[in-house]
Amino acid sequence: MARNPVTWLGSPTFPKAAHKALADTQLRQNLRKATGTIRGRRAAAVAEMTDWEQLRVAGEQIKNDVLARLDTLLVQLEESVTARGGVVHWARDAEEANRIVLDLCREEQATEVVKVKSMATAEIGLNEALEAGGVHAVETDLAELIVQLGDDRPSHILVPAIHRNRSEIREIFQRRMGVEVSDEPADLAEAARVHLREKFLTTKVAISGANFAVADTGSIVVLESEGNGRMCLTLPDTLITVMGIEKLVPSWQDLEVFLQLLPRSSTAERMNPYTSVWTGVTPGDGPQRFHLVLIDNGRTATLRDSVGRQALRCIRCSACLNVCPVYERTGGQSYGSVYPGPIGAILTPQLVGDMRDPQAASLPYASSLCGACFEVCPVRIDIPSVLTHLRAEAVEAKGRTAESVAMAAAAWMFKEASRYEKAQRAGALARFLARDGRITSLPWPGSRWTSSRDAPAPPSESFRAWWRRNRG
């Protein structure tokens, strides 16, 4: 089976990538500013809601119900979309999904398509697959455009260019659009408007993701801010929507919960500027050909894990990224995946589905388990519990390692009091390595500990020895 492109080929493990990112002071400054801003605004937007906790509980329960009845609901969605003139496609993995979309583009004889920001298409590496097949995908979301023009990688679920500040964005725009522009956000937005206008008006095929799909009506929902989504969903002749199979809600009424939870959690607004809802094809209004591509790509494997499956409740708001002390310092690219931050640390390794992959297996450790992510999660995903659960899986997958050998030796030593005392006396010798009561560099294998932190010097005499001498 082909590798899952949810992680970027050749990415180092999280600690290695984080080590490098931590040295980038510009990155840390940009992230501190952006996440600090959004944290404060989100808290205010949520404080306005007296029933926030009840909404979170309902959001959790609705999504749990979706996961419990996923097969029935997907078939229901397929029926309602088909009844309204849409065509539904199913894809087991990224490769299959990309082939379906490329074939659809070729049927339309499209060499260029416009895209609305979508995590699902980023996860499957759709742009690269289309490019290889001779179809150029133009990202129309401002942040995605910044990433695409900068030949960069995304670092945030909602704002993929969060690691760039206004002057860096200005530099990218001037270089790639060939225009003079100031670093005022309003001017930068205007430059993007002018740059994309012609594309919107002339491109015949659009590709989108979906925030929600309503099983009983077949309605697809996309939330956005700029109007680039509306352009793509309204003007082209053909619309192809790529969506993870877990993005369902059972009924139209369920949206009342998520349309309240999502905007406040992601952009800290009472409501995002634009939300589009469409059901199949509407004669005389919008695209007259509609394709819905449902992708698995590791989701059904995730569903099998009774602890890990709650990650599939995620509605991609990115509140957990914005509050995470680890994310704020390392940035999103250190996670080596389109899904960074706390949710990425539990979702990515599960979608990869192979804990022998050292990069994926390093992600559940990208956390101090402080629990801030769970506090803000609008669908109450207990990220810390899933992290510890996946750490156990990572250890198990590793089999016999230096660490497991050391642990086995420790177990043998602790079993007998005499062995333990001998070990303590031997350990006291390490005092000779200490300066001011700290050991900053131990020989291997202890060096693996002291490379990132100091060890306290052991005392000259153990408590047991002291007790025997004074009270024994």
Binding site: N30, K33, A34, T37, I38, T50, D51, Q54, A58, Q61, I62, D65, L67, A68, L70, L74, R84, A91, R92, T140, L142, A143, L158, V159, N165, P185, A186, A189, R193, L196, F200, L201, V214, T217, S219, S225, E226, G227, R230, L233, L235, Q253, E256, L259, T267, E269, R270, M271, P273, Y274, T275, S276, T279, D285, L294, D296, T300, A301, L303, R309
Partner: protein, 192 residues
Amino acid sequence: MASAREEILQRIRDARVPAAEPVVRGYRDTGPGGVELFAERVADYRAVVHVVTDVPEALDRLRGKRIVVPPDVPAEWLVDGVEWLHEPLTIEELDRSDGVLTGCAVAIADTGTIVLDGGVAQGRRALTLLPDHHLCVVRADQIAASVPEALHRLEPTRPLTFISGPSATSDIELNRVEGVHGPRTLEVLVIT
């Protein structure tokens, strides 16, 4: 070999996810509502709001402009002195117009949102997207108090557009800036 559809559905069944507990909807389904709250919340998005008793008198400022209207626009809105653009209109004609005047299906007081559904006095979706200035007429009785109330009033299979303020982005340093691809000016006329 099984089709992708069959295989995915079988994998889901094999996962044996236990039935979920019933959904408890303990959240508010209504709110204080009202014209005043709606107007205040719309204004928070830096949209222009006028609370008026009569549409024609509020349209004075459009004199001399080229304004798109949906096919079933109420005749009394078509005041003199404005060049009204009627369907059928091409994408280019919409793009070159000065603005568009529509009604709406529902509005939401809690969030300052207007919702269009392609029904009476609204037209197809492109009409309210390409012109740079959107004037939307909201009758007081169209204002729902809350998001749940609004969704209840809507028909989900119609093409819906929820609009909360002018086009904006939060993509530069996570601060909201108005004016990207959609209409850069949103003007809401609330008729009491």
